[in-house]
Symmetry: C2
Subunit: 346 residues, 2 copies
């Protein structure tokens, strides 16, 4: 009983996937040689290479990942670990861009990206997966100080953290943005415009990134010999931004410049200021943060601080790939620079 056409159906004859052995036979060389060509070994006779390439093209050969992984003890996959609610994670444009960057870098390799959402209770399954050789390394992206199970993972496979500082206890690679400098750049812009009474609408005071932005803003004002204006919490939300703007209008009417620590808050604040009869940027200049779509949706196009989120993703992937290739001497910490996107509001 020949197993050849065992499960062939009438309508769908599925050709058996070509194997390395078939390529070897077709090209008239050994399997080892084909393997060398496929993996780009330099010690192969050019003429053999040509033969093998032809056979590969002709047969449409694609190496079997499972077999390759088994033999080489490498999965050629990396995990994207999201230790958080997926919806909130992906709803954030910042993270979405990071993923885009990771993906962009990975596209140049043959690494596959596995999505691992480490939900509340199920840390155990994730652990088994990650430490069981399913992936060669992982990228961890999150707002929060990460969970402790990551510590144990970190000494099984290489980890690269992104977005925010990771664990205190472990020594892995971290890619982050310079929030302090972001706030500083925004403030500098306002100062250079000639603003004298500069306030800020901040993010929640229990978020590290928010605090750092405010620090940078304050530093520049002080350095410029200006009295820093009020700091009002806008909660990183649109409504919060509007509320904060109203408050500033009351308590700080002389305000002629304001750094709003997220574009979303700015898109809530700006209409309030306009409604109050302030011209933007003539009467009050506004600098936002994020360079999100909201920045363009504002009544007056928003000058804003851009975070290189996609580049961050690319960098994270790049580091991991490099480490996986054996170059684990990359710097442990990479702080990405921010930049100012100049539009109309300031």
């Amino acid at each position: 009983m020949p197993p050849v056409d065992g499960d062939a159906e009438m309508s769908l004859v599925r050709h058996a996937a070509p194997t390395l052995e078939m390529v070897a036979a077709r090209a008239g060389v050994s399997r080892a040689t084909v393997s060398r060509v496929v993996n780009g070994s330099d010690k192969v006779n050019p003429s053999s290479v040509k033969l093998v390439q032809a056979a590969i093209d002709e047969l449409g050969y694609v190496p079997n990942r499972a077999a390759r992984s088994l033999a080489s003890a490498q999965s050629h996959a990396i995990a994207l670990i999201v230790p958080e609610d997926v919806t909130r994670f992906f709803g954030d444009v910042f993270f979405a861009s990071i993923v885009a960057g990771i993906n962009a870098r990975l596209e140049q390799t043959d690494y596959a990206l596995n999505l691992m959402v480490a939900t509340q209770s199920e840390g155990a399954k994730t652990m088994r997966y990650l430490t069981g050789g399913a992936v060669d390394g992982a990228v961890v992206v999150s707002h929060h100080t990460a969970d402790h199970f990551l510590e144990r993972i970190a000494d099984t496979i290489p980890l690269v953290f992104g977005g925010r500082p990771g664990l205190a206890g472990i020594d892995t690679w971290v890619v982050d943005v310079d929030n302090e400098e972001g706030g500083a750049v925004a403030a500098r812009r306002l100062v250079e415009r000639g603003c004298k009474h500069i306030a800020t609408i901040t993010g929640p005071t229990d978020m590290q990134s928010a605090l750092e932005r405010t620090d940078g803003w304050r530093r520049v004002l002080v350095d410029a010999g200006l009295e820093p204006g009020p700091e009002v919490d806008g909660d990183f939300s649109m409504m919060g931004g509007a509320r904060a703007a109203r408050r500033l209008l009351e308590t700080y009417p002389e305000m002629d410049g304001v750094f709003v620590a997220s574009d979303l808050m700015a898109s809530g604040a700006m209409p309030v200021l306009l409604d109050a009869g302030k011209r933007v940027p003539e009467d009050v200049a506004i600098v936002g943060y994020d360079d999100s779509p909201a920045a363009l949706a504002c009544p007056v196009p928003l000058t804003t601080v851009r975070q290189p989120s996609e580049e961050m993703g690319r960098m994270m992937a790049d580091i991991l790939i490099d480490v996986l290739a054996g170059n684990d001497d990359r710097p442990r910490s990479s702080i990405m620079p921010i930049s100012l996107v100049e539009r109309v509001s300031a």
Copy 2:
């Protein structure tokens, strides 16, 4: 030369991962028996099961995925295909929830989720990956009519489409929402409230989902013996919603109810109406769509139509898993019901 401690470093002694064979030895049974236990075969003596379980726990055994895949010709991985820009895709809360649902269902299995972003040019690499046995099946999520390369993939591995209708030419599984009914539910709410002059702010007229919502809205009004009010394009954006609201205020001042086809547009429109002195819901009732965070951020909490996006994701994964298990008689099309979230605005 014993290979045992070949690459052990001073600081990091990595124990060799326990294999099935080691478990078998520890439990005093054959490898086949261990395999049966691991894969939940029912033809194993309970006492053997207990022995094997103990050995597994003790050794911390985790099956090697590569070996399993190679031997069983199944990857135990499925792909999430995003034929679109990642940032835009994940920025959409609707899709983010779908991914959450897919993930939730997959968590109950040992399928891994591979993220495949089929970017512009690189269809070829994706093709090779998908048809090369790297995944057992795939879930495709997108706004758009999908690309043609998916057709070729569809006859290699099972595909489940979600979000919006997929290709015309292929016969696979589709999970979608009932947009027409969504518009109808919204309109019905307005009618039942006693509104007589009901307008709608629509999405872009070149999007299928937007058109269907308007159709449902119109149908209900006509059935109720009401003259449908104006349909104004709000572009699915906040600014567009505000613009549309202003337009309605001018051209349709008698308006006492409005269906706004996305919460984002509603959050732009509502402030305009309030500013014009309209009370919500007393003077103008508003029903939104999406049940997104924006619905709660509105000045008046928004009554809105909820799409079961997470359930959709779960359903998609469920279908795929089922099909992969051999039950390919699942209905080709699953239309998920929408529901009304009742808050204050209508």
